[in-house]
């Protein structure tokens, strides 16, 4: 119960802006129900007072009323449907907008904890569950309840004795619609799981088809698929009788209730307690109870699913920002690019320190290479300069000012980052380059490409700068992806450059191109590079050798060689190789 209340408390504000529309919708719905219920009564009157006593003018009068009621019903039903789907779609728009906005606002630790697939589900499937509720449920809540009460009251008013038949019909109908149907829904979701098992086996066989064929596994996989498919089939054979029973019950009750009306109506007629027209009206009313009941039951199911989905959606909307900006955070017009770590400690999880007192100073325009093996804290160090996380203790200063004083937006807009596996977005090459500065013109894009020495390479693509690259850069090589990411970074003209050099080996031609472009890119900027290439490291003003969260050696290439430490011993191994 408290779940329902908390869902409504958060969800109703989304409906609030459309309060007036919703009121009009319900007014139209009331008219619609009234007209629908009045039509059989008017027809009954046309028969009893027009046709049976052969009164033509009464017949025409009643027919006129029927026509008027039909027109009213048409207009009000149309109005009701129109408003419902407009409001529903607007609410969904608002919900998706807020959800996406709040995902963009959240900080990196949130994305560490929540895989992108899970978040996708929130914005697509969970919103869709709410869509179904809005589209099917918004008008149902009142309309169908009114419909049922309207039908029952109409029958009681027309003939209270005959309406006693309902004492038998309504409970049976409720049993079918609410109890039997829910059992079917439960069974159906079990079947659905089996079916998605079939589909995911298939999906994997297709993704790995090369391996399947290279290992000559086809025949065995076909047998396995037939087994899974057969399992689903057997389950569905057990499920469908339930489905058949449901429709059997509906059909039986429908006809049997008509038979009952005929029987009981006849008895009443025998005693002169009813007219034929009323019996006819009853015949049409009793068969109309099913649909609204079915819709209410449907709505209740959707509502309980919506509560679950809604809870997950609102969890994201209410998620606190892990790395917040200060109030009135500093927005520098420009930064020089001095970065200083003083005894910085950091851990992702309490009790598992990753950086254990790191201190260094990088002056504006200097290049700093960070080396160390996996888990030594290299990536963490550059994440902290990006302020993806806040440090546990110590000081991290940019241009002599605590990093937490700056607004993240303005700070990052003075920096650029190239990741190890550069993200390419679907769109043209030019769009990818200007991703970080969308207002840049094509001349600027070309200028940057020229400076980096990759203009010719891009012009060699099928449609040059307009070549569409797929998501994840499917149709271009890793080396080319990296070069585009360099151009993207360069176009922003950042004061601080952060770069995670690719560890994978590219073919020698591309490798030479990347090395050249890298040199151009870093010129005159404070740069931090997680380096994997000897040539990159050699050019660094300062090399930080990280081991287990500590800086164990620092200096430039010559100094470190002279220091005869870990770094030097490796270089010697390499040279004698």
């Amino acid at each position: 119960m408290s779940e329902i209340r908390s869902f409504l408390r958060k969800f109703l504000p989304y409906l609030a802006p459309y309060r007036r529309d919703i009121i009009v919708m319900y007014a139209a719905a009331i008219l619609n129900v009234a007209a629908l219920i009045s039509i059989p009564i008017l027809i009954q009157r046309a028969i009893d007072f027009g046709i049976v006593p052969r009164d033509t003018s009464m017949l025409l009068n009643m027919a006129g009323f029927v026509a008027a009621a039909a027109a009213l019903q048409f207009i009000s039903f149309r109005t009701q449907g129109r408003i419902m789907m407009r409001v529903g779609n607007r609410v969904l728009f608002d919900l998706r907008r807020d959800l996406f906005g709040s995902i963009q606002r959240l900080s990196v630790p949130f994305f560490d904890a929540n895989k992108s697939g899970k978040l996708m589900t929130r914005v697509t499937s969970d919103v869709q569950v709410l869509e179904e509720l809005l589209m099917a449920g918004l008008d149902t809540v009142l309309v169908d309840v009114m419909m049922i009460f309207g039908l029952i009251s109409a029958m009681i008013i027309l003939n209270a004795r005959l309406s006693l038949v309902l004492l038998l019909v309504v409970p049976l109908l409720a049993l079918i619609v609410f109890v039997l149907r829910n059992r079917i829904m439960d069974a159906a979701s079990g079947i659905q799981k089996k079916l998605s098992g079939v589909n995911s086996y298939l999906n994997e066989s297709l993704s790995g088809i090369r391996v399947v064929q290279a290992f000559a596994r086809e025949r065995r996989n076909i047998r396995e698929f037939q087994r899974i498919n057969g399992e689903y089939y057997d389950n569905s054979r057990r499920f469908y009788p339930l489905h058949a029973i449901f429709w059997q019950a509906v059909a039986t009750l429908n006809t049997v209730s008509q038979g009952l009306v005929i029987l009981v109506g006849g008895l009443l007629l025998y005693r002169d307690l009813i007219t034929i027209g009323v019996i006819v009206a009853f015949l049409s009313y009793v068969t109309r109870l099913f649909q609204p009941m079915q819709k209410i039951s449907n709505m209740l199911n959707q509502f309980s699913r919506a509560i679950v989905s809604g809870r997950r959606i609102f969890e994201i909307l209410e998620e606190p920002v892990a790395v917040p900006d200060k109030e009135n955070a500093f927005e520098p017009p420009a930064i020089r690019g001095e970065v200083e770590f003083t005894d910085v400690h950091f851990s992702y999880h309490p009790g598992e320190p990753v950086l254990k007192g790191v201190s260094f100073l990088v002056n504006p325009g200097q290049m700093c290479a960070i080396v160390g093996h996996t888990g030594s804290g290299k990536s963490t160090t550059i994440h902290l300069i990006n302020r993806f996380y806040d440090i546990d203790s110590g000081h991290l200063k940019i241009d002599g000012r605590d990093i937490r004083d700056y607004s993240q937006r303005s700070l990052r807009s003075r920096m650029a980052t190239v990741m190890q596996d550069p993200q390419i977005f679907s769109g043209s090459v030019a769009e990818n380059i200007r991703f970080g500065r969308p207002e840049a013109g094509i001349d600027q894009v070309r200028q940057v490409a020229r400076t980096l020495g990759i203009e010719e390479m891009i012009d060699g693509f099928p449609r040059g700068f307009d070549t569409e690259v797929g998501q994840n850069g499917g149709n271009i090589s890793l080396g080319q992806r990296q070069l585009l990411a360099f151009a993207r970074a360069m176009l922003r003209n950042p004061s601080i450059l952060i770069l995670d050099e690719a560890s994978a080996y590219l073919d020698s031609e591309t490798e030479a191109m990347v090395q050249k472009a890298l040199g151009v890119l870093m010129e005159g900027r404070t740069s931090f590079v997680i380096a994997h290439r000897l040539s990159t490291i050699r050019n660094a003003d300062q090399i930080l050798v990280l081991e287990d969260g500590h800086i164990v050696e620092r200096g430039n290439h010559e100094e470190l060689i002279g220091a005869e430490g870990t770094y030097a011993s490796y270089i010697r191994t390499l040279e004698t190789h």
Binding site: R96, N199, V211, F435, H577
Partner: protein
């Protein structure tokens, strides 16, 4: 439906039974208004004028009994149709899967997995709907409309014709709305798909979005996508919200016509119209309500099913490798591979990828292939397990052309480690045993030890039973490659093909698995594609491939003097030699 006639033919009897039940249900449905008419006209008037109650009980009882029988029929019909649907669909799904397993690589070059998936899941589902209720609805729409027309004409042809004059209007409206609705729905799905891809990309690249402070731009871009989803789904919903009132209105108009014209007939005494006939007409109108209501839905079921049938048929009619000429040779393989003036281009009609390739690999020899991106390395090795067939020339194994060998046997004797090792969502044990499912546990552990992944596996809580793959444990690139190597070791292949399997690894990991590769190659004919000189040096001879031709084939030392391409690659790698990770790995290469 023609492509499935053979499957349908198998279930002719079931289909006939289902249709028979359906007809019985409808007959009962027409009988009930007749009964109601009889009661109103013959039984009710007698009730007041001293007649007994027996006829009332008799006919009332008959209606109730008819209801019970009808319910039973509904049950049997639904069961028959749905069983039929599930059975047919199971068979089609199996046939599709079997076909997909045997389709050649060239099919998979152009087909996208997502598209194929939707054929086997969504399209098959459309067909299921066709059998489960598409046929039933289609036949009933025609059957009910015609029978009711006949009954109405039989009872009062004037009134019948007037009532049926609204049928063309209804048909027109249904067609009008259903074509627009299916267009709108497709559009809505497409827009929703756009939104999903946008979202997926944004979430996948969220760190770069944040690093470049592009959140606001992304929110703006999302607003556009979101707006078009809203517009498309508003349009689709609006059509539905327009059609429903129209359908109800036509039904009410039908009642109005009956009351007005039928009533006038009674009042004026034309065409021996009775009150019972009028009530009967009202019930018939309620019966035609069903076909009218279902027609739009049925039209879309049918058109979706016919589209699905065409797409499924397109896959099923592809010729697969089993139908190609296939040899029967299953001798023990020594491993002598010879390419004789082999030329190859991809079936989509591009420029030749390989030209006049000519070389021989001795049994047990290790040969590496080196070349720039696009020089034809991967194409060359994919000819060996006959993923593709050469356009010209002959590839022979132990002196016999590849086509003479039994394809399944040939592939079972070739071990491959691909650039990106694909692991299936199953236990590590099953993944290693993928090429030899009958292997015993000891053999699998032995292979894992040889690939130096055993110790790591033992640190996992579930050991060899740990699930990997998409929904399982996340493994590093090096760990995955080691499992792939174990998979190849367990197969104990006569020929080993390594397709650039180390380039995606960092140099430290690459050096670590070189030892495993060396063990794996020992005594087997090996073809290995590599970029790094350190890996190339594992080979006895190196083929330098340039623009689809063999430029040189010689040892490392000889190539340094002979091949300019090879020498420059060697120099670049020495200058830009990748260290980084290696600095800390401590050990020499």
């Amino acid at each position: 439906m023609r492509p499935f006639s053979s499957i349908i033919a198998r279930y002719k009897k079931e289909m006939a039974i289902a249709i028979a039940f359906m007809v019985l249900i409808d007959i009962l449905a027409y009988a009930i208004p007749l009964l109601i008419r009889y009661v109103t006209d013959e039984v009710y008037p007698q009730l007041g004028s001293g007649g007994g109650l027996e006829p009332l009980f008799l006919f009332g009882g008959i209606i109730v009994a008819a209801g019970v029988v009808r319910g039973g029929m509904v049950h049997l019909m639904i069961r028959s149709f749905w069983y039929l649907a599930e059975t047919v669909v199971r068979d089609i799904r199996n046939a599709l899967f079997e076909k997909l397993q045997h389709l050649p690589a060239q099919f998979y070059d152009t087909a996208r997995t997502g598209d194929l998936m939707s054929r086997v899941s969504a399209d098959v589902q459309m067909l299921r709907n066709f059998f489960a209720f598409g046929i039933e609805h289609r036949i009933r729409v025609a059957l009910i409309t015609l029978t009711v027309l006949a009954l109405m004409i039989w009872q009062n042809w004037r009134l019948a014709l007037v009532v049926y004059s609204i049928i063309p209007v209804i048909l027109y409206l249904v067609i009008y709305f259903s074509t627009r609705m299916s267009r709108a729905t497709i559009n809505k799905h497409r827009r929703t798909g756009d939104l999903s891809s946008f979202l997926q990309e944004n979430l996948y690249g969220i760190r770069i979005v944040k690093a470049l402070a592009m959140e606001d731009r992304q929110i703006e871009a999302f607003a556009d996508v979101n707006q078009s989803v809203k517009d498309a789904s508003t349009e689709a919903a609006d059509l539905q919200a327009r059609m429903n009132p129209v359908l109800i209105l036509t039904n009410t108009l039908g009642s109005l016509i009956i009351v007005l014209y039928g009533g006038w007939q009674i009042v004026s005494g034309t065409g021996d119209m009775t009150l019972g006939t009028l009530l009967g007409f009202m019930s018939y109108l309620a019966i035609i309500g069903f076909p009218v209501y279902i027609l739009a839905f049925n039209t879309s079921t049918m058109s979706l099913a016919s589209g699905a049938t065409a797409r499924i048929h397109q896959v099923l009619s592809q010729s697969d490798q089993r139908q190609r000429d296939n040899g029967h040779r299953r001798d023990r393989i020594r491993g002598e591979l010879a390419f004789r003036s082999v030329g190859f281009s991809y079936p989509d009609g591009g420029a030749p990828v390989l030209k006049d390739i000519d070389f021989t690999i001795e049994p047990g020899e290790r040969v590496a292939i080196f070349g720039l991106t696009g020089s034809g390395k991967s194409s060359l090795i994919s000819l060996i397990p006959r993923f593709y067939e050469p356009d010209s020339g002959i590839i022979s194994l132990d002196g016999g052309p590849l086509a003479e060998w039994d394809l399944e046997y040939l592939r079972s004797r070739i071990g491959m480690v691909l650039q990106e090792s694909f692991l299936f969502s199953m236990s590590i044990l099953d993944n290693i045993a993928y090429g030899r499912p009958d292997a015993c546990r000891e053999e699998i552990v032995e292979a894992a030890k040889a690939a130096r992944i055993h110790d790591y596996i033992m640190t996992l809580p579930e050991g060899y039973e740990s699930t990997v793959g998409e929904f399982g444990l996340g493994l590093s690139g090096g760990q995955k490659q080691r499992i792939a190597i174990a998979r190849a070791i367990l197969k104990d292949p006569s020929i080993l093909i390594l397709d650039d399997c180390t380039s995606s690894l960092d140099s430290r990991t690459e050096q670590e698995i070189q030892a495993e590769l060396r063990d794996l190659m020992a005594g087997r004919t090996t073809v290995i594609i590599a970029q790094r000189i350190s890996t190339l040096r594992l080979a006895d001879r190196i083929i330098v491939l340039r623009d689809g031709r063999v430029d040189h084939m010689d040892s490392h030392e000889a190539l340094l003097t002979k091949s300019r391409l090879y020498r420059s690659a060697y120099q670049i790698q020495s200058n830009y030699g990748s260290i980084g990770e290696d600095v800390m790995s401590g050990g020499p290469a």
